[in-house]
């Protein structure tokens, strides 16, 4: 019984994939910077998920903060002091981490999906269709990213869905180009020829042979796109294009700036969100670089 299962093709493929994942993890653990990045990300994830345990959501509302002094430095009114309305900065920081991470991750997923689909289609189908796709990609690459995101966000109106949409549809072209280049080399491999000779359809080839082989690259690229998405969310929110009803780290910086926290030297208001962004962005970059060194075939060849 067991022997029969072990010989099935899916099981072999499954075992091979599991071995590849454990192998990659063993390589990853050797990268010290990668492990530091991962630790920071786990911490940030715990803060975001455990927000209800760390701070009361009601503290975010100005109505509930009416008895608190405004501009109080770190004190009994909050471990990070209060803002101009007397709200706890700590509560905003903790709850803001949720929105910042959510927008960063969701926008990245959107960008990666578009980029992968466009990259695989352009690379695999090629011809005039691929040419048109790549021209579109180049157009998006040339147009300055921030002004494009700003006009899109201004036109669509400020909401959390729109900001995800805007960052997603402005950040995919780099991924598309990377994936296309990889697909172009994969397409020439013998196993693709073999499968085609057996009569495999284009869809089968793309789904079964091309996609699994670009997945490692997609993963590394995802980790490197999140920091860009988070920084974009910060800038757009700072310019007043974020969701006005929900605090994110970028929104905190906007409100601190508008309320005049700098001239009041209220460092406790704008230092924490900036540090949070910096640490999370740095952590994603470190993880991404470590993953890239393991998973990107071009870098791997150079290393050995």
């Amino acid at each position: 019984m067991r022997g029969a299962v072990a010989t099935s093709a899916t099981r072999i493929a499954w075992l091979r994939r599991r071995r590849a994942v454990t192998g990659a993890w063993r390589d990853y653990r050797r990268s010290r910077t990668g492990m530091i990045g991962l630790a920071v990300l786990v911490l940030a994830g715990l803060v975001a998920l455990g927000a209800p345990l760390l701070a009361d959501e009601g503290d975010l509302r100005a109505v509930n903060a009416i008895d608190n002094p405004s501009w109080a430095p770190p004190s009994e009114f909050g471990p990070l002091g209060t803002d101009n309305l007397g709200r706890s900065v700590w509560a905003q920081f903790v709850w803001g981490s949720r929105i910042s991470l959510l927008v960063g991750l969701a926008a990245t997923v959107l960008a990666i999906v578009i980029g992968t689909v466009v990259g695989i289609s352009a690379g695999f189908v090629g011809g005039r269709f691929g040419g048109v796709l790549m021209r579109g990609t180049e157009w998006f690459l040339v147009i300055p990213f921030l002004p494009l995101a700003i006009v899109l966000a201004a036109v669509l109106g400020p909401s959390i869905e729109n900001i995800i949409l805007v960052i997603g549809i402005t950040s995919w072209p780099g991924t598309a180009r990377l994936i296309r280049a990889q697909v172009l080399t994969l397409k020439e491999r013998l196993y693709v020829d073999r499968s085609r000779a057996f009569g495999a359809s284009g869809r089968h080839l793309m789904g079964r042979h091309i996609l699994p082989n670009v997945m490692p690259l997609v993963l590394a690229n995802t980790t490197l796109t999140v920091p860009i998405a988070i920084l974009s969310e910060t800038t757009l929110s700072f310019l007043g294009l974020g969701d006005p009803t929900r605090a994110s780290w970028g929104k905190m910086l906007e409100e601190a700036f508008r309320a005049g926290a700098i001239t009041r030297e209220a460092w406790w208001y704008f230092l924490p969100p900036g540090l949070g962004i910096m640490l999370v962005v740095l952590a994603f970059t470190l993880c991404g670089q470590a993953l890239e060194a393991i998973l990107d075939p071009r870098l791997r060849e150079r290393r050995s």
Binding site: E138, W139, V142, I143, P144, L146, P147, L148, I150, V151, L152, A154, V155, P227, L231, T234, T235, F238, L239, G240, L241, G250, L253, F257, I262, T263, E265, W267, F270, L271, G274, I277, M278, L279, V281, L282, T285
Partner: protein, 321 residues
């Protein structure tokens, strides 16, 4: 590179620009519900006056007519009038371009210069403490929002120590001539320092990896074998060749000169195109935003073309290919 390829590249850029113009039209027509009504909200307008205003803003006629008129006007650099000031958008943009060019231009050159120096030192002493320190520094500046860095500099050097003004471009009480120029330079120190710090990491990283790549070339081995000193090998043989990718980066970044400092100009109330964008957003002043987006995109497209042509001129391997 032969003439045909140059012409081809120029045509491609013109095509990209044309696409931006179309995109700009349709994007802003999506939202343009009733700007006249919004602008004159609360005022009693007769239907005739309303019609008159609609014509003035170019909002009458069918979509196709509007599009044709828009293209013709854009070709003559007529971007319409601002909803807020009622001045022609192009005048407003021209007036506010200079502060931005001065600020971002200075920062672009400074960051390239300092970034290249850091990159050279880091690559030449690879694995040393200097290398780790500079890589750590560039990673940190890359990871922070540029305007947040500006907020920190403001807090320390303007509010805390009082060395520099907290914002603006010139003190209204200042006289003319040299005194005025010096005051403007004084106002520019903090925003320029912010942008320089924010940009230089990119140059340092690219210069470092490019020089590391160059250091494996055979001609460096030959230069050493000839008995040249380390410094001579570095400055005369390695660095000039490694500079190639950096020049491209610089040319591309020049394209971002107009749009590169939107948030940082806001922090320092620097009256350039970035602050103009921020102000236009609060309206929203749609003709102004539309004009700004077009100008920003055009700058990047032209700079990309220049970078492309420059690269093929500088690198003979590309030139003959």
């Amino acid at each position: 590179m032969n003439r045909r390829r140059v012409i081809g590249k120029i045509l491609a850029s013109v095509g990209t620009l044309a696409f931006v113009v179309c995109f700009n039209f349709f994007l802003f027509r999506v939202v343009e519900s009733d700007p006249v009504g919004n602008l004159y909200r609360g005022r009693n307008l007769s239907p005739e006056q309303r019609e008159e205003l609609r014509r003035e803003f170019g909002l009458d006629g069918s979509q196709a007519e509007q599009f044709a008129r828009y293209v013709a006007q854009t070709a003559q650099l007529n971007f319409g009038r601002s909803y807020v000031t009622n001045e022609p958008v192009i005048d407003e943009i021209a007036r506010r371009a200079w502060p931005t060019v001065a600020l971002v231009g200075t920062s672009a050159l400074l960051s390239a210069l300092i970034g290249i120096l850091i990159g050279v030192v880091a690559a030449w002493r690879r694995g040393s403490k200097t290398d780790y320190a500079s890589t750590g520094f560039t990673m940190a500046t890359y990871s922070m929002p540029d305007f947040w860095l500006g907020m920190l500099l403001l807090l320390v050097f303007a509010v805390g120590l009082g060395w520099f003004p907290v914002g603006g471009i010139v003190d209204p009480a200042t006289g003319g001539g040299l005194e005025r120029l010096l005051d403007q330079a004084h106002h520019m120190v903090l925003p320029a320092a912010t942008l320089t710090l924010a940009y230089l990491g990119e140059y340092a990283l690219i210069m470092r990896s490019s020089l590391l790549e160059t250091m494996r070339e055979d001609y460096l081995l030959l230069a050493r074998a000839k008995g040249l000193r380390d410094v001579a090998v570095r400055n005369r043989h390695a660095v000039p060749n490694a500079l190639l990718p950096v020049t491209t980066l610089l040319a591309i970044n020049i394209g971002f000169i107009l749009s590169g400092a939107i948030a940082v100009e806001t922090i320092f109330s620097w009256p350039g195109l970035g602050l103009a964008t921020f102000e236009a957003l609060s309206g929203p002043d749609l003709p102004m935003l539309q004009g700004l987006f077009l100008v920003f995109s055009a700058a990047v497209i032209v700079a990309n073309l220049a970078a492309d042509l420059l690269y093929s001129y500088l690198d003979p391997r590309v030139r003959t290919a």
